[in-house]
């Protein structure tokens, strides 16, 4: 894959910028990333990071409610936002010749919000509906339960959306102070990908983004984040309307900044459950036919991640399936990983990274997030890292930790 040429620079107030050139792309993506995820919420603020993401669309110093959406969509663009545990980002996808307008609008949206009490109360109703919708999905309920157990009483264990109780306890003032505390120039990256003009630095400097980030440089301490502890354990859960039982097992992973082990975890994930030749799918779905679906997902976060294995099966097979999963992983630990399986998994990982860097939105998102957290990964660097892994290293450093005692397991069956 031909990697986009990137350029990085810092604005006067300390906000960082990164641009990635994708020639001939019909759309350009502007993506503001901010270290203001739910991990930064204090007691009583649970759900506020995400609720704030909603509220920023409800008007700013220069834009009336709905104006941002109208203006962006009138120029043939679209917008969206997402809140994570560590960070939040807001992006627009616009025709390249509308870049000046796009930056000004996005900067106004994110950095100069109005906090109208009436709008706050109304939007809280919308977030409560979002929570209710999520709670009606059995998969979401089980996933959230696992995170609550693995990171009990810690920020990563709390739902990003908060709860009905916590949201009803928040106020417009507390949201404003959350914004002032975290949406600071030094916490922000503007990522631009697409057919970026050559004078991009001047455009950004002279835009509202340049002007607004100059004024948000105060040195306010973020909250003291407590130690990050991963809890192990076992829990049985009864869930409404569950048609297939689930075995869901979480194992601790290192933080994202540990790029070597993060890529190792990706290779393990492929080795275990990507494709019919993967070890677990091949045995449990294809040969033994005990499992309907098995999936391994790697969630990497700044303070430490989790590898989640989820198997769907009939309730009567749960114990058998659980035993097989641990026996298979233990076998790999004892007998090692074949070169063939290792190469297959490595190639799937490297190709999927390459396949996911095609559009300006994907590239702006990836580059913006990496730059926000001081990483600078490229496809060639990822390949270099992956090439340092060997089947034995994977076995010794990762697989051997994947024992039942190191996991949190949830067995979910129908209520």
């Amino acid at each position: 894959m031909k990697e986009p040429v990137t350029e990085k620079w810092i604005l006067e107030g300390g906000a960082q910028c990164i641009s990635a050139l994708v020639p001939n792309a019909p759309l350009l993506c502007l993506d503001i990333w901010c270290k203001a995820g739910s991990i930064n919420e204090k007691k009583g603020e649970e759900g506020l990071a995400h609720f704030l993401e909603h509220m920023l669309f409800k008007g700013s110093g220069k834009l009336a409610k709905g104006d941002f959406d109208l203006k962006i969509e009138s120029i043939g663009g679209s917008s969206n936002a997402a809140t994570g545990y560590d960070d939040v980002h807001y992006y627009v996808l616009i025709p390249p010749d509308k870049i000046d307008q796009g930056i000004d609008l996005l900067a106004q949206l994110v950095l100069n919000p109005l906090f109208d009490k009436k709008e706050f109360d109304l939007e809280r109703e919308v977030v409560l509906e979002e929570i209710a919708q999520q709670n009606d999905q059995p998969d979401e309920t089980i996933f959230q339960s696992l995170l609550e157990e693995c990171w009990s009483n810690q920020p990563y264990g709390r739902p990003i959306l908060g709860s009905e109780y916590s949201l009803k306890g928040t106020s417009c003032d507390s949201m404003k102070s959350f914004h002032e505390r975290l949406y600071l120039a030094r916490n922000i990256v503007l990522s631009i990908a697409g057919n970026v003009p050559t004078n991009i630095k001047d455009i950004v400097q002279n835009s509202e983004f340049g002007a607004l980030t100059k004024n948000i440089t105060k040195n306010i301490d973020t909250i003291n984040q407590s130690d990050h502890i991963f809890y192990t354990g076992y829990k049985e859960l009864k869930v409404e309307r569950l048609e297939s039982s689930r075995i869901i097992i979480g194992w601790e992973l290192p933080p994202t900044k540990d790029e070597f082990n993060s890529i190792g975890a990706d290779i393990i994930s492929s080795l275990l459950a990507e494709g019919r030749k993967s070890l677990l799918v091949n045995t449990l779905v294809e040969k033994l036919r005990l499992v309907n679906n098995i999936d391994v997902d790697v969630t990497t976060l700044e303070k430490g991640g989790v590898l989640i294995l989820e198997a769907l099966c009939e309730e009567k097979n749960i114990i058998k399936v659980e035993q097989h999963i641990h026996a298979l992983i233990s076998d790999i630990g004892k007998n090692g990983i074949s070169k063939e399986d290792f190469n297959r998994a490595k190639k799937l990982v490297l190709n999927s990274h390459c396949f996911y860097q095609e559009t300006p939105r994907q590239i702006a998102g990836l580059k913006g997030n990496q730059h926000l957290w001081g990483r600078s990964t490229s496809l060639s660097k990822e390949k270099e890292i992956a090439d340092k892994w060997t089947p034995n290293k994977l076995k010794d450093r990762i697989i051997n930790n994947f024992i039942p005692e190191n996991s949190f397991t949830i067995i979910a069956t129908q209520k």
Binding site: G77, V126, A132, R276
Partner: protein
């Protein structure tokens, strides 16, 4: 363009290759008591073809870090492959074999049937799926788009190897389109697929003017209720519309942009921004060869469901009697035109769009002519089309008994 079946495009800037093979006829052609047959066959195609068995196909694909999928929708079977430039000439022959020489193994079919049955059961976990299934049953009553692509548990259980073999033999004769884009070796690809064109008898199973039979006009019920234990009620409200090749479909897509596309749309503003009634609200108007659904959907707390339904109903019904203002019309047109750019960013998106267009018997440059048509539209055109297709909408509700009763009492 090589011929009417094979569409190739070399893109210098990428080393990704995407192939999409579209074979006409999907679940709409499932036999009456074999619902799910096309999807079952589609899934089984990756489990054996030519000299390869399931294990060998998986081995070749996965060791190349590639992806291969095969699924059916209502109108056809779509085989998708994504790989790197270096592997494409090695992997593309598998697609050819899946179409020309499917190899159906009894044990593999048994497994695929079990997996399908479990997937059908899991659909019940999703309130949206339940509401949509009921809505389709009501609207496409006893016509070809009525049943879900996965079929029913009873029919899947009763599908035999022979049923699948008979259908598999038909694939080679069915109308098909193969679109391959990316860092391709054009000559090499032509060498692979050259034969497939000669073998293809190109029988035209149906033509694009064919209409599915209409919903029974004496159907007295326009409401369906599905009771489940949930906190929210899912509301689906709309009707079937028209063929993708019909200009009226474009008019309705402009209407869809006005009502439900983006945060400046009518439904988003009314239900979410102004009244805080729902998080998820929008329009489901997928691309289908024939009478595609046009559905307003939202999920909301049972205590707000009545109010939400009133807003949905009013928003739709206003379009029958009130023409859009110039500003509204221009905004909706801009949204539709820009959505073409938004949905053609990746090689996979471009390839699938081309395969669908050609597979429906439409022109390669349809989207260009679509833009011209959109530009010429008036508010009256939109209102007339809304009246023509949507004036008698069907309502599907899924939620707790209490929530459903509240709406029912307020209809």
């Amino acid at each position: 363009m090589i011929n009417s079946n094979l569409n190739l495009e070399f893109c210098e800037s990428t080393n990704i290759v995407v192939a999409k093979a579209w074979i006409r006829e999907g679940s709409r052609s499932d036999p009456k008591n074999k619902k799910g047959l096309h999807q079952l066959l589609a899934a089984s195609l990756t489990r054996g073809c030519g000299e390869y068995d399931s294990d060998q196909i998986a081995d070749i694909i996965e060791s190349s870090g590639a992806y291969l999928r095969s699924d059916a929708n209502e109108d056809g079977i779509l085989i998708s492959m994504k790989c790197t430039q270096e592997d494409h000439l090695k992997l593309l022959p598998i697609i050819k074999l899946m179409i020309s020489s499917p190899k159906l193994n009894k044990e593999q079919i048994k497994l695929e049937k079990e997996l399908t049955i479990q997937a059908i059961k899991r659909q019940k976990e999703n309130p949206y799926q339940l509401a949509y299934k009921s809505w389709k049953k009501l609207v496409y009553n006893k016509t070809d788009y009525e049943h879900d692509t996965l079929g029913t548990i009873y029919d899947i259980e009763n599908t035999t190897l022979n049923d699948l073999e008979c259908l598999a033999k038909e694939l080679i004769c069915r109308e098909k389109v193969i679109v391959i884009k990316g860092g391709i070796d054009k000559k090499g690809v032509e060498e692979i697929f050259g034969d497939s064109n000669k073998k293809n008898n190109r029988i035209k199973v149906s033509d694009t003017t064919l209409q599915l039979s209409k919903v029974n006009s004496i159907e007295d019920s326009k409401i369906t209720l599905e009771t489940i234990d949930s906190s929210q009620v899912v509301i689906m409200y709309g009707n079937k519309s028209t063929n993708h090749s019909n200009n009226d479909d474009i008019n309705l897509r402009v209407l869809s942009c006005h009502l439900g596309s983006g945060m400046s749309s009518v439904l988003f503003k009314r239900l979410r921004e102004q009244n805080g009634l729902a998080y998820d609200v929008g329009i489901y108007n997928p691309i289908r060869e024939y009478n595609t659904p046009f559905i307003i959907h939202c999920s909301t707390n049972k205590t707000k469901a009545v109010e939400a339904y009133k807003h949905i109903k009013d928003s739709l019904h206003k379009t029958f009697s009130n023409e859009l203002t110039n500003e509204q019309l221009e905004l909706a047109k801009t949204k539709l035109i820009s959505s073409i750019n938004h949905h053609s960013q990746t090689i996979a998106q471009k390839s699938e769009r081309m395969a669908i267009l050609l597979g429906y018997g439409m022109k390669e440059d349809f989207d260009v002519s679509c833009i011209e048509h959109v530009k010429s539209l008036t508010s009256k055109d939109i209102m007339d089309t809304a009246n023509k297709y949507l004036d008698e909408p069907y309502l599907s509700l899924c939620g707790s008994e209490e929530g459903l009763q509240l709406i029912k009492n307020n209809l």
